[in-house]
Symmetry: none
DNA sequence: CATGAATGAGTATTCATTCAT
DNA sequence: GATGAATGAATACTCATTCAT
């Protein structure tokens, strides 16, 4: 845990116990952290296109040579940022699921919606850049990884709470719910700051929760989709 | 008609993305069309980052000089593609709204959801590139314009059909509906081709329509969001 | 006279007397004038580097094709501007020489110095661009032509007024006088606007005239300077 | 000494013409020197307009990337050449002033005139390109800096030798003298090679010195400019 | 291990000039 | 003659990446 997403990056180094190695490991980790942090900061400040590796190295107080010692490419740097950001989001979301478990459907959904909004508020500027300016291809598709993770967690939740749920195709249901919640909270945070003003946030939460809860447990939508 | 998407191009709106010359002669108009089409093709084939103006000119069978005779920047070219694409989508969506008018809520929603899927299927590869790889900033933010347009049309629809609708804040309702429908159809088309296989498409339409119809006209969600 | 420098440009057309030809000749002349004037204007407004032939044609209200009908190259346009400007300067300078003839040396010199300042004030912005931004090479060296012309006129003057003059090598003397007067008035107009304020102009004229008159007719420059 | 002309380069003075990096390592310094030297050489060989950054880099035996590592623009390169050239000229001129101090006026002036000619002969081809082909604007105006420097040094000289001088307005006098000497030597070197042939050089020195000495100390030009 | 000097393919864009209509 | 669409060589400049020290 902690920086588990980093393991794969520094991988190649075998765990040694000699003090000196530990010391240098700590130093390496600090360098890596500084680079990831600098990348995030530059990404927000300058945008993806103007975020050059040289600029990132400079902002991290590290030489360009060292940057390439730890990250094989610019893409790897951005992937690390994405992974860290996803990790942060997942922390919030999984906590919400834990808290939701056992609660009645409506209350549970509500918790998840609030968590979704909270998650999007963690570092909205970074989130926006990652979502809007970072070309998604190859390894960079990872932003979608969050969605996949969220999807499978949500599906598990549905399975465990099958009783209160009317929908049969749990996979499709998870898709519908996760996609909607994500889109609504994302769009609100990124494009509709007016909706997030104190009083209105509550309204957004109510409506979104209503949308999902109505869909999942909708009292009388009849046998099969009697819309 | 015909090149009506060009209207917005010809009308001088934004400083750096406004075409330089109005293509009055037939030859010039052909050149402009070839450039926009080539841009779309290259965007799909090579991705946004590798779509250089030289490559686009070459693909259009036009000299780089001619490209800059009509488009002051690479961005202007992409804006033209976006506008053309948005125009194509809006054609489908507005037609659906026209057809939906007067119909009962459930049927109307269904029409709109089907239209949303159809719209996303117009040129999915281009849509994906525009959505995922094209940095949204400055004039390029126009991709969101489609959402705004869709939002206001939907809001009008809600006003005219207030009777069957339970929700009070029409603006928020429009936001919820448009955002959800867009996200669900978009994500399905872009990331879940498995969902779009013949039999399952029908299911997606049902579920999505149910989500929205349940939200808007939901029989008994109680006085105020008694979820 | 008038636009005699233009003859060489329109050359190739034989003088015809048929009204229609006269009419079209007049039109051609108007076009040529418009182009030369537009070039001067653009040169001042945008500087030499940003003065493109297309911009010049546009400013002249003439198509780029027509521009090349009358001027074989961008350089030819600038040469025409230089020639016109030189012509304007020479008009002032020759008038001054005419007026100076017969006057005593001191008074004559004074007239010439005043004329030099007046000449530099004809179109100082254009003069500056021509002097500072226009690369002098090939046909563009013509700016120096003015100096040559001035030199030979001045030499003639010295010959006709040999009596009051102490200097023997008239050629060298002409060089010294013309170069000094030109440099002093030019530099003052271009770089020292503070010197040209009303009261100080008079002082500049006095000092410059004194410099030249002292040199040419200097009573007793003593042994060491006895050239 | 050695690279003292670099001082002004290293000190960050103007926004766009200031070098990017301080060349600390020996290799880097060699690169910077090679670039400045190559720029001068290319300027002379090809002229300002045809001196492209790629050509300069090639001539310096350095990659275009390295060029931009040290100089943020083509202009910066030319500014460096100008500064180096000015430095070279000032070395000669200040030495002459040092030698002139204490000497009687006529002899002192003579030394300065000779120094002016020498200075113009340092690298006449470069001097010509800098003076004639290099557009003077923005940071490139620095060529005039030399004149300013020369002006203030000369003014100081006049102050210290007030006794032998008839002129009252020292500022104006310095302007007259510096401008004349500069113009005469410059024009002779650049446009009148015939004047600089052995025997005639002496004559040019005499006449120029006479012009200036007569002006400054002219025996009897009466109380105030009785010309 | 760290440094930072060096690289060079690649990019967007301009502009003098030509020539079919 | 006039037009203006088309050309394409040329330019300044960036940036991910390598490698000698």
């Amino acid at each position: 845990m902690g920086y588990s997403h980093m393991d794969s990056i520094i991988s190649g180094r075998k765990p040694q116990t000699t003090p000196r190695k530990i010391a240098s490991q700590a130093r390496a980790r600090a360098t890596v952290d500084a680079l990831v942090e600098a990348t995030a900061r530059i990404l927000v400040r300058d945008g993806f296109d103007r975020a050059s590796t040289n600029r990132i190295a400079e902002a991290a107080g590290v030489s360009i040579g060292s940057l390439y010692q730890y990250f094989p490419s610019k893409e790897a740097l951005v992937v690390a940022v994405i992974e860290r950001h996803n990790h942060d989001l997942m922390t919030i979301v999984t906590a919400a699921f834990a808290k939701a478990n056992g609660k009645p459907l409506a209350a549970a959904i509500r918790l998840l919606v609030v968590a979704a909004i909270d998650a999007h508020r963690v570092d909205p500027e970074l989130h926006r850049v990652l979502a809007e300016q970072t070309p998604r291809s190859g390894a960079l598709a990872n932003i979608e990884l969050f969605q996949r993770d969220a999807h499978s967690i949500f599906r598990s939740y549905l399975e465990e709470n099958r009783s209160g749920i009317r929908v049969r195709d749990l996979d499709l249901a998870a898709f519908i719910c996760v996609t909607s919640i994500e889109a609504l909270t994302h769009t609100a945070v990124i494009h509709r700051p007016d909706i997030l003003v104190d009083e209105r946030v509550e309204q957004l939460v109510e409506e979104t929760s209503g949308l999902i809860a109505g869909y999942l447990g909708g009292a009388d939508r009849g046998p099969s989709m009697t819309v």
